[in-house]
């Protein structure tokens, strides 16, 4: 009588272990969640590969509102980058106003723009704000700005960033509306209100500019 073969249990064990390994190594597996770099996580969950928030791309120089005066002698076309960014951002939350309508709503708070007046009017909330004037200005770190924008967008929150030219000290504001993970990196997509540089994403912003503001805006309490 031939001795009992041990081959089938060995094969079975190997197959079971391989199935287990494939289960654990699957991209969605909790064991691998957040283990892959540089994929970003929010509250322990990897963010989606791409997010795009619906909003129009307004230009300050659009003739429909470029000449709208914000303060004596200064128009949206001249100094309305923050206001125009805010008008775009509002569309994410169903506030379908153009820059001239936002300016009319804000009145004297349109220039210099007071973000809080707009968020109060529309029951929005600034949930993350960073300023170069802060004691520990996170906004001075470009990687932090990119990652924080991705995390905000992954939660459905649009972002406005302020930049300042290091030499000329000119300031400018841009709205962040989406991102995509491509070739191992996050491309954070922007709508620039100006046609001078027309930055399409954060990486395109010339290093001559430094970040001075970061505003993540969400819906307020219901």
């Amino acid at each position: 009588m031939p001795p009992p073969s041990r081959k089938p249990p060995c094969r079975l064990l190997a197959v079971v272990l391989l199935i287990l390994a494939l289960t654990v190594l699957h991209p969605g597996s909790p064991a691998l969640l957040c283990a892959e770099t540089p994929r970003l996580c929010v509250n322990g969950v990897t963010v989606p590969d791409s997010v795009s928030l619906e909003m129009p791309h307004f230009r300050q120089t659009d003739p429909a509102w470029a000449g709208c005066e914000l303060r004596p002698g200064r128009t949206i076309g001249d100094i309305g980058c923050a206001l125009t960014s805010l008008a775009m951002l509002g569309h994410v939350y169903g506030i379908e106003q153009n820059p001239a309508e936002v300016a009319a709503d804000l009145g004297s708070w349109a220039a210099p723009l007071e973000w809080e007046v707009y968020t109060t009017l529309h029951n929005l909330r600034i949930v993350r704000e960073d300023n170069l004037l802060d004691i520990d200005p996170h906004v001075a770190d470009r990687d932090w700005v990119r990652d924080s924008a991705v995390r905000a967008l992954a939660q459905g929150h649009p972002v406005i960033v302020g930049i300042q030219h290091r030499e000329h000290l000119t300031t400018h504001f841009i709205v962040v509306h989406g991102y995509r993970f491509e070739n191992g990196a996050y491309i954070v997509e922007t709508y620039d209100t100006s046609t001078n540089n027309d930055y399409p994403n954060l990486d395109a912003i010339d290093p001559a500019w430094e970040y001075i503001r970061f505003l993540e805006i969400s819906r307020g309490s219901s």
């Binding site: 190997a14 691998l32 770099t37 004037l133 000290l169």
Partner: protein, 389 residues
């Protein structure tokens, strides 16, 4: 003749796959175990993971009598964070708030010695008596109201970022006076127990403003001391006096180590040691220290309040008698115990709770409730005696 030389008379054996499968299976099993261990260690939010003997700032632990790690002998609950006493917030009594604070949320600035609470939001600043719900409005604004308070004074101003005028209100008399005014403005509001108001003085440059000095204004006589703007937080200043080389600078680089400080108006000073492990997963090693004896110098002044922990970045929050490391996990100094608000803190499912303040007699805990945005819109009072085991 070597045993390993092939025997030419013996026919070649077919390759036996099973001989390879067993070691391969064992190798896969080993790798699985390693992977699971690693993934558990990097799991966000995994707190209470004890790690190396050195703390997050690289300090070797030298446990003293009251900070010795738990031994195997039974200890009363709450001595350490991982045995925090569970409190049930559902038995707390709601406190009626003025409508502006329900609508726009609020922050607790300070609990006065008589038990009244100073509340602030961008449009309203008020003193609320939580026992009677009576509220005294100190100031209202269209937007951008900022303030600080201590036992005797409330200092406030208006502005989205910088404020251009700062007023002080003496709580007992109700008298008010302007203490600072500038076209360039001031940034930041902080008060200490010795009636000094701290803010950053700005100068205007094309396009923006920049800090030029850190001001300490004595509210008693209005005198102003100008300090270098390198250090602009009272607790940082206090810790740097004790430990001159303490690393205080925030960093977004993996592997970076620094301390974040906080001080209550009762001059309870804390330092949170942070070690950024992985910025993509928001993982830190951290450890909370108290500085009970300011006559000691350097790192030796720091007394560990927690083990070395791993998890998301703690939200350090301090009020008199209370230090919280997350919204619902906190230490009450008068009771010398760690507590946790039971069944709360789950984000994404509506209302969440947050510990806000302790009454001066340490019998009542004030809890905020609100939405996922993190701003309380409701306030309730939890009697500690009724809740303690």
């Amino acid at each position: 003749m070597s045993h390993f030389r092939p025997d030419p008379k013996r026919p070649p054996q077919p390759f036996d796959l099973n001989r390879l499968l067993l070691p391969l299976a064992l190798l896969v099993l080993f790798l699985l175990v390693v992977l699971l261990v690693v993934s558990r260690r990097t799991q966000p939010g995994a707190q209470g993971t004890e790690a190396a003997a050195t703390n997050a700032a690289g300090i070797v632990e030298e446990p003293s009598g009251d900070t010795a790690p738990p031994t195997e002998s039974p200890e009363p609950p709450g001595l350490w964070l991982d045995t925090a006493i569970e409190l049930d917030p559902s038995v707390a009594t709601p406190v009626q708030l003025p409508e502006a604070f329900v609508r726009r949320g609020f922050a607790v600035l300070h609990v006065l010695p008589d038990g009244r609470i100073v509340l602030l939001n961008p449009i309203s600043l008020a003193i609320l008596d939580p026992r009677t719900a009576a509220a005294e409005i100190i100031h209202e604004a269209e937007f951008g109201l900022q303030a600080a308070a201590n036992d005797r004074w409330i200092v406030y101003g208006e502005g989205g970022d910088e404020v251009f005028a700062v007023d002080a209100c003496e709580i007992a008399s109700g008298q008010r006076r302007r203490i600072l005014e500038s076209e360039a403005g001031y940034y930041g509001f902080e008060l200490d127990a010795a009636d000094h108001f701290y803010t950053t003085e700005l100068v205007t440059q094309p396009g923006s403003s920049k800090p030029v000095a850190w001001l300490a204004v004595a509210l008693s006589d209005g005198s102003i001391e100008r300090r270098e703007p390198a250090c602009r937080r009272v607790a940082d200043w206090e810790l740097a006096k004790i430990w001159s080389g303490v690393p205080l600078g925030w960093s977004y680089v993996d592997g970076a180590r620094w301390y974040r400080t906080a001080q209550s108006l009762a001059s309870e000073l804390y330092a949170l040691a942070l070690h950024r492990l992985d910025r993509s997963t928001e993982q830190f090693e951290w450890q909370l220290f108290a500085i009970p004896d300011r006559s000691r110098e350097g790192q030796e002044a720091l007394v560990a309040m927690t083990d070395l922990m791993t998890g998301i970045e703690p939200r350090l929050y301090v009020q008199n008698g209370l230090v919280a490391v997350h919204d619902t996990t906190f230490y009450l100094r008068p009771l010398e115990r760690w507590f946790h608000l039971h069944g709360t803190g789950e984000e994404g499912d509506g209302e969440v709770c947050r510990v806000l303040a302790l009454s001066p007699d340490a019998t009542t805990l004030y809890i905020g409730s609100g939405d996922d945005n993190g701003l309380p819109t409701g306030l309730s009072a939890l009697k500690l005696a009724a809740n303690e085991p």
